[in-house]
C-alpha cells in the first residue's frame, strides 16, 4: 500500500516538474502507438468494410481467422518480428531492429486484426440496414465502402481507440523488437518493466499512473474533437 501512495506522489512530481525523461518517453509512446494505430486503421477499416459487403468464397474463413488473430499474443508477434528484422533474418538488411520502426511494425500486426474485427462487426450491421437502399441507388462497390465507412465513423473511431488502448499498454512485443534503449526506443511500458525489475516500485507505479492518465487524455480528447456523446447518437 505504501508503494501505491509513493507511486501517486512520484507521478505527481514527475508531472508537475515536467521531468524531461518522462516527457520524452511519454511522447515516444504516443508517437509509436498513434502511428501504429493510423497505419493499422488504414489497412483494417477498408478490410472490415470489404469483408462486410463482399460475397466470395473463404469469406467466413477470413473472418474466423481475423477474430482468432485478435488474440495474437504480443510476445509471439514480437519474437516473429524480431526474427524477421534481425540481421540474420530476411529483412535484416533494412536495419530496422531496435528502432521505433520495429515497434510500429509489431504494433501494426497486433492492432490490425483487432481494429478490422471490430470495424467489420459494426459495418456489417450498417450494411444490413443500408443494403437495399445502396443497391437501389445504383452505387458502385467503392461508393458503398466509402458510404459505410463514413456513416459508421463513430463506431470505427471506437475501434481505433480500442486499438490505441491495446497498443499503448503493450509491452511484450516492443520490448523484444525495440530493445528498451534509453533515448531511442524506451517507452512508458518498457520503462515501467525496467523500474519494476530494479525493485523501484514507487517510480514504476508512478509511471503507470502517468500512462493511465495519458490513455484517458487521448480518449477524452478524441471524443471531444469528434463530438461523440455531445449530440444525440443514432
Amino acid at each position: 500500500m505504501l508503494e501505491i501512495w509513493l507511486g501517486i506522489k512520484s507521478a505527481f512530481w514527475l508531472i508537475v516538474t515536467l521531468d524531461a525523461d518522462l516527457i520524452e518517453i511519454a511522447c515516444r509512446s504516443l508517437v509509436v502507438t498513434l502511428s501504429a494505430v493510423a497505419i493499422a486503421a488504414a489497412i483494417a477499416l477498408p478490410l472490415g468494410a470489404w469483408l462486410a459487403i463482399g460475397r466470395y468464397r473463404f469469406r467466413r474463413l477470413v473472418i474466423a481467422v481475423l477474430n482468432a488473430l485478435m488474440g495474437l499474443p504480443p510476445v509471439v508477434v514480437g519474437l516473429v518480428v524480431y526474427l524477421m528484422l534481425s540481421r540474420s533474418g530476411p529483412f535484416g538488411v533494412m536495419g530496422l531492429l531496435f528502432t521505433p520502426w520495429a515497434m510500429i511494425i509489431a504494433q501494426v500486426i497486433i492492432l490490425t486484426p483487432l481494429i478490422a474485427s471490430i470495424a467489420h462487426q459494426s459495418i456489417r450491421d450498417l450494411w444490413a440496414e443500408y443494403h437495399d437502399l445502396l443497391i437501389s441507388l445504383n452505387t458502385s462497390r467503392s461508393q458503398r465502402i466509402k458510404t459505410l465507412l463514413w456513416d459508421s465513423r463513430r463506431a470505427l473511431l471506437t475501434a481505433a481507440l480500442a486499438g490505441f488502448g491495446r497498443g499503448i499498454g503493450e509491452v511484450g512485443a516492443i520490448m523484444i523488437v525495440g530493445g528498451n534503449i534509453d533515448h531511442a526506443t524506451r517507452v512508458m511500458t518498457t520503462a515501467i518493466a525496467l523500474e519494476t525489475s530494479k525493485g523501484d516500485f514507487a517510480l514504476a507505479i508512478g509511471l503507470g499512473f502517468v500512462l493511465i492518465a495519458m490513455a484517458f487524455a487521448v480518449n477524452i480528447t478524441i471524443h471531444m474533437l469528434s463530438g461523440t456523446e455531445v449530440r444525440d447518437r443514432w
Binding site: L126, L133, I135, S136, L137, D151, W234
Partner: protein, 237 residues
Amino acid sequence: MVSILPLSLNDVTVERDGKRLLGPVSLDIRADALTIVLGPNGAGKSTLLRLMHGLVKPTSGRVRFAAPRGEAYAHQAFVFQTPIMLRRTVLGNLCYPLTAHGISHAEAEKKALTWLKTLGLDGHETQRASQLSGGERQKLALARALIRKPELLFLDEPCANLDGAATQDIERLIGEARAGGTRILMATHDLGQARRLADDVLFLHHGEVLEHAPAKAFFEAPQTDEVKAFLNGDLVI
C-alpha cells in the same frame, strides 16, 4: 434520352428455399401510367417490385429493359415500406443520390433545398433524418427517390404505416411525379388508395397475376371470384 421502357417479364419465377414466391409471370410495363399492384398479404407484390428493380434475382425466366442494364438501373428508383434513412442529416440524405453520381456538392445542395421546400421540410436541413416523424421520413425517402428524375419509380406500400395527413402528402407527391411523366408501379393493399391513384391495376394472388386491367374495368367488372371477394372486403386466402 433513350427510354428504358418497356420492361418485359418473360415467364419469370422466383423461388427461395424451394418455395415459389412468384410466377410464372409474363408482363409488359409500358410508359406513362400508374399501375397499382393489389393483392392480399403474401401474394408476392413486394417480390414482383423487387424483382423488376433488380433487388431479387429471378430463379427462371427473363427480366428485360429496353436499355442496357447499367442504363436501366440508373433511371429507376425504389421507395421501401419502411424508409431506409442514411445516418446523416435531412439534407445529406437528399444530396446523396446526386453526389454519388458525380453532381457537385453545391449543385446537389441547391437542388435538395428546393425539394425540401416542396416537402414542407425546409428548416430541417441540419436535423438528423432519424429524428423525423414516420411521415416526414417517408416523404424524404420519396423525394430522395425522385430527385434524379427517374423514368421508373417503384413504391412498395409507402403509406402502410402512415396516418391520413401523411398519406395525403405522399399521394400528392406521387400525383405530381405521375404528371411529370414518371412511370410508377405501386404496391398497396389499401383499396381506397388504389381507387384514388390507379390508371390500371394488377392483381396478384399466390404469386400469379390473376387480373391486369384498366382501373375502371377492374373495379366495375372484375373477372375472377378472388378479385370480386377482395373488392367486397372478404378475406382472400
